[in-house]
Amino acid sequence: MKKLTFKSENITKLYNRRKIIENVTFSLSEGVSFAITGKNGSGKSTLIKVLCGVLSPTKGSLELKVDGTLIPYPDYYPHIGLVSPYLNMYEEFTAEENLSFMARVRNLGPDAGERGEMLLKEFGIFEHRKKEVRFYSSGMKQRLKYCAALLHQPALLVLDEPSSNLDQYGIEAVRKFMVLQKQHGTLIFATNDRDDLQYADTVYSIENGKN
């Protein structure tokens, strides 16, 4: 398991002078599962984006250290796997092509192929791997997003609404990997589903952008 510390200090994000999230502060380490809850529009997705280094905060700072090395903000991407409604796969490519593109771009090495296959099987879309993603149902697309996020064994797995679009089998697979992630790294997830919350060590609830 990689040693990881992730600190957030007074993260504030404005959108046209309006505070979407305000003074978000927390501290995580490896083996921890961190849940963010709040009703729709409370700022969860914005916070997720900021934590992944995709949206820069208006105020405040983030500090991510993996194995003692400080990762420069905002290039957290090698260490993050994100599943989010805002992050889609390339629909004109097959599942296999999407994963192999990602493996090549991330320079993952030869076992990425095996790992990709394993993930596709775990999430039950192995038989569809040679079909273009535009023919997938929303549930299948969601499962593929998980395969993509887990492919590079990220130290930090970030899930925005983990159970959305999934049936019971999909949710089971997700929960399995959530537990696995806790054993191998760190997990952050944003959810309103009470059943998801049992997988959290710490719960951070947001209302109108504030804790």
Binding site: V54, Y77, L82, L87, F93
Partner: protein, 222 residues
């Protein structure tokens, strides 16, 4: 590492375009339509090679405006922008898309130039080296400016009409130089007479790419 990733991204753009053929079909139709319009409006007249040089680059410019913004705009529209953002280093993304845009406009301008040579009798090029070198360097310049501008408008709200508005003032010096060089080619000038033009085209491209690489992060990373 960055170069290898850029290459993979370029290949992805290429294959993606090949699969969907959205833009390619539209672009080719656009080229055919515009060329037809030019041919029809010439009709029986004999416009001077100077005028024809100008229209050549007008068609190339508008083809660039139709086709070169797609690479960034499509990512935003299909929600894969975030995917790419979390996958690769920003420089790789820029370089990969730049190369794709360059190849795209090079092919388009080659087709347009060939059509001009084949179908317009009054358009006679005497110094082919100047002509084709201008097409090459002109395409490089067009791609270099268009890529960063495409990245900018992809993050804005009304993407379509914004692109030519931003691009025209930036590309005008380039276009005028290309037109001038093309005129020299039709006049039968020596290769060395167009040297100044080539210097301008090359330095424009280099300056654009360098500046783009410096500012790209601000555009790509929110």
């Amino acid at each position: 590492m960055i170069a290898a990733t850029a290459y993979h991204i370029f290949i992805k753009e290429f294959v993606s375009e090949f699969r969907t053929r959205y833009a390619l079909n539209a672009l080719l139709m656009f080229v055919v339509t515009t060329l037809s319009i030019i041919l029809f409006s010439i009709g029986q007249e004999s416009p001077s090679p100077d005028v024809l040089s100008g229209t050549l680059w007008i068609v190339i410019f508008f083809s660039a405006m139709s086709g070169l913004s797609r690479t960034f705009v499509a990512e935003e529209e299909r929600g894969t922008s975030l995917t790419l953002r979390l996958l690769a280093h920003s420089s790789s993304v820029y370089i990969g898309k730049l190369i794709y845009n360059f190849i795209l406009i090079l092919v388009l301008s080659f087709i347009i130039a060939a059509a001009y040579l084949l179908f317009i009798n009054e358009f006679s090029v005497k110094t082919y080296e100047i002509f084709w070198l201008t097409i090459l360097l002109g395409s490089a310049g067009l791609a270099s400016a268009s890529t960063i501008l495409a990245a900018i408008i992809a993050k804005a709200n009304t993407k379509g009409t914004l692109f030519p508005v931003l691009a025209f003032p930036v590309l005008l010096p380039l276009l005028l130089t290309c037109i001038n060089a093309t005129k020299l080619a039709t006049e039968g000038a020596f290769l060395t007479e167009a040297l100044k033009e080539f210097q301008i085209l090359l330095s424009f491209t280099i300056v654009m790419i360098t500046t783009s690489m410096l500012v790209f992060d601000f555009v790509w990373k929110d």
